[in-house]
């Protein structure tokens, strides 16, 4: 199966000590590797204001992870772990590889077009002035 890219964000209670968060991250990374996945990036965004109340909290500690895996079981397992842990109040996993593929396609498409376009304008402007200059000279001669 093709490898998939996931974004995983989870929010911990603001009162959670830093060590507990690192512990959660470590267990997640460990279980991700166990299930044949790979953690590409882990970012701690720190305490941020939540846009709305989540289990009576107005703030939360955000942790952002990027995962790569060929098996979807990994998400099931990680989400189960997040669900179980008390410190985590919210989590979200988003599959991103399809969006990125689309993005790459568009970039490629644009590059191809860009590589075509400059040649044409650069080729056309050069002859155009030459063509344009003679007609005015001819017209007065005719009239």
């Amino acid at each position: 199966m093709e490898e998939r890219l996931y974004d995983l964000i989870f929010i911990c209670r603001p009162a959670t000590p830093e060590e507990d968060i690192t512990k959660i991250v470590a267990t997640l990374e460990h279980s991700a590797v166990e299930h044949g996945g790979k953690v590409e990036k882990t970012e701690k965004w720190g305490t941020r204001r939540l846009a709305y109340r989540v289990s009576k909290h107005r703030e939360g500690f955000f942790v952002y992870m990027v995962l790569r895996s060929a098996q979807s079981d990994i998400i099931k397992e990680l989400e189960r772990r997040l669900k179980v842990s008390d410190a985590v109040i919210k989590y979200q996993t988003v599959r991103l590889d399809e969006d990125l593929k689309r993005q790459q396609k568009l970039v490629k498409h644009r590059e191809r077009r860009a590589s075509r376009r400059p040649r044409k304008p650069s080729a056309t402007p050069a002859p155009q002035p030459q063509q344009q200059v003679p007609p005015p000279a001819e017209q007065p001669a005719v009239s």
């Binding site: 974004d7 964000i9 929010i11 939540l50 846009a51 709305y52 109340r53 989540v54 939360g60 952002y64 919210k90 989590y91 979200q92 988003v94 969006d99 990125l100 689309r102 993005q103 568009l106 970039v107 644009r110």
Partner: protein, 153 residues
């Protein structure tokens, strides 16, 4: 075959207002009242942020009648319309955005109302493709409490 008579009938009512316009000019008081009523109905809509092209064209059609009935109302409307006609360009197309990241809240915020509503395309000028991506990104951001569903106080 059946369409033709309908079309003809549809055209005739549209044509009748034009002949009626001179009449309203003759009776000054009646014409002025009518034009005031029109402007009263149109102005709040525009204030509400309605920038549809169709609406503008309709008002333009009413424009020629306006100067006859109410002189001051006509020019004002025309002036406003010019501002609202400003061509909106998709911001994402200009910046060549291929992927709208739901994590960049600052990027999404201009496209969300204070209460958390997604702004319609007619307000922001976003192209259909980018509006689709934008909606998806905003919904993702909402899910993870980066953006509000609705601000509660």
């Amino acid at each position: 075959m059946a369409d033709e008579p309908i079309k003809a009938s549809a055209e005739t009512p549209a044509a009748t207002p034009a002949p009626s316009a001179p009449r309203s000019e003759g009776t000054h008081s009646g014409g002025a009242h009518r034009s005031e009523g029109h402007s009263g109905g149109g102005a709040p809509r525009r204030e509400g942020g309605y920038g549809g092209g169709g609406g503008g064209q309709r008002r333009e059609g009413g424009g020629p009648g306006g100067p006859g009935g109410g002189g001051p109302g006509g020019p004002r409307r025309g002036g406003k319309r010019q501002y609202f006609r400003k061509k909106k360009v998709c911001r994402f197309c200009v910046e060549r955005v291929d992927f709208i990241d739901y994590k960049k809240v600052e990027m999404l915020q201009p496209f969300v109302q204070e209460r958390g509503k997604i702004l319609p395309r007619r307000m922001t000028g976003t192209c259909s493709r980018h509006q689709r991506w934008l909606g998806e990104a905003i919904k993702r951001a909402r899910n993870i409490a980066l953006l509000p569903f609705a601000t509660e106080l």
